[in-house]
Symmetry: C2
DNA sequence: CATAAGGGTTCCATTCACTGGAAGGTCAAC
DNA sequence: GTTGACCTTCCAGTGAATGGAACCCTTATG
C-alpha cells in the first residue's frame, strides 16, 4: 500500500507517517520505484499510534507501548504504569488550566468591556506587589 | 539594575528576560560595559509579562496587552476580547483533556496491572475497526 | 508523442516559548 | 593575581509535527 492509502485508513496525514518512519516508529518496505510500501501490520501500528496520540501519550510513551504490545509476554503492570503516569500528567494539566480559568474568568467578569479605558484585567496584570488584587478579593 | 537583580525581582529567569528583549517585549538600556541596564519601568513590564504568561496568554497576546496597557485611552473592550478568546482556548483545552482523562481512566481501571500479559489498555489501542471497545462499553 | 494531473520522494525551515551550553568579557574581593 | 560570580553573544535543541520547494513516477488523454 502507498502512503496515501495508509493515510486514509489510519487517519494520519502522510506527512506525519513519514515523520513516524523518520523517528523509527514504523519501518515500511520500499517498492522498486522508491515509494514506501506499507504492510497490513504497518497500517495496524499506525492506527495504534493514532489512538495512543489521541489519548495524549507522548511519542516516547508510544514507542514503549508499541514495544510492550509486540511482546506478548509483557506484564500488564508495565503498561498500566505508563498509563497511570500519563493520567497524572493529565490531572496536573487540568488542575493548572482550571486555576488559570478561575482567575481569568474573575477578571473577565469584572471588566466592563466597553469604550472606557478602566480595565481590571490590565490592573491585575500590572499590579504592584503588596496591593490588593481586587479581582481576586473573593479568594 | 543588572539582569540578575531583575530576574530575582520579576521571578523570570535571566535567560527568559534576554529572550523577551530579543523578541522586542522589553528594551533595556545598556551600560558602558555592555551589560543590560533595566529601569523601574522595565522591571514592571517584566512582572506584567510574568503574570500574563502565568495565566497562559501567548507571547503575542502579551505583546497586545502591553500595548493596550501603555495606551491609557484604550477601550476595556479590546482587553476583554483578548481575555475572552483566551478563556475559550482554555475551556477547549480542559474539555479535550477531560475527555482523554475519562477514556484513559476507564482503561486503567480495567487493567489488572499484574504479572500477566492480558491488558485492556493495549487491547483498546490495538483495536480493529468494527470490534467492540470493551473498556468503553459503558459510553 | 507530449503533457497534465495526481500521486510519490527528499530536504530544509518554521512553529512556540523557551532552555542549555560553550566561549569569553567584567567586576569585586581576598 | 586569581578566584568566583556575574555578564555577554551565539548556536543548538526541545515536541510533534507542518509547510513548502524542487523534483520523480504513473496513468490518462489529445
Amino acid at each position: 500500500m502507498n502512503i496515501g492509502d495508509v493515510a486514509d485508513l489510519s487517519g494520519l496525514p502522510a506527512k506525519t507517517i513519514r515523520y513516524y518512519e523518520d523517528i523509527g516508529l514504523v519501518e515500511p518496505l520500499r517498492s522498486a520505484n522508491g515509494y514506501r510500501s506499507f504492510r497490513q501490520s504497518d497500517v495496524h501500528k499506525l492506527a495504534f499510534l493514532g489512538r495512543a496520540r489521541a489519548l495524549g501519550f507522548t511519542i516516547e510513551d508510544c514507542r514503549s507501548l508499541l514495544k510492550l504490545y509486540a511482546d506478548t509476554d509483557r506484564a500488564s503492570a508495565e503498561v498500566k504504569q505508563i498509563a497511570e503516569e500519563h493520567l497524572d500528567r493529565i490531572d496536573r494539566k487540568i488542575a493548572e488550566l482550571t486555576e488559570m480559568r478561575a482567575t481569568l474568568s474573575h477578571l473577565v467578569d469584572a471588566c466592563a468591556g466597553d469604550h472606557r479605558p478602566d480595565c481590571p484585567i490590565l490592573a491585575d496584570l500590572a499590579m504592584e506587589e503588596g496591593k490588593t488584587r481586587t479581582a481576586r478579593a473573593a479568594d
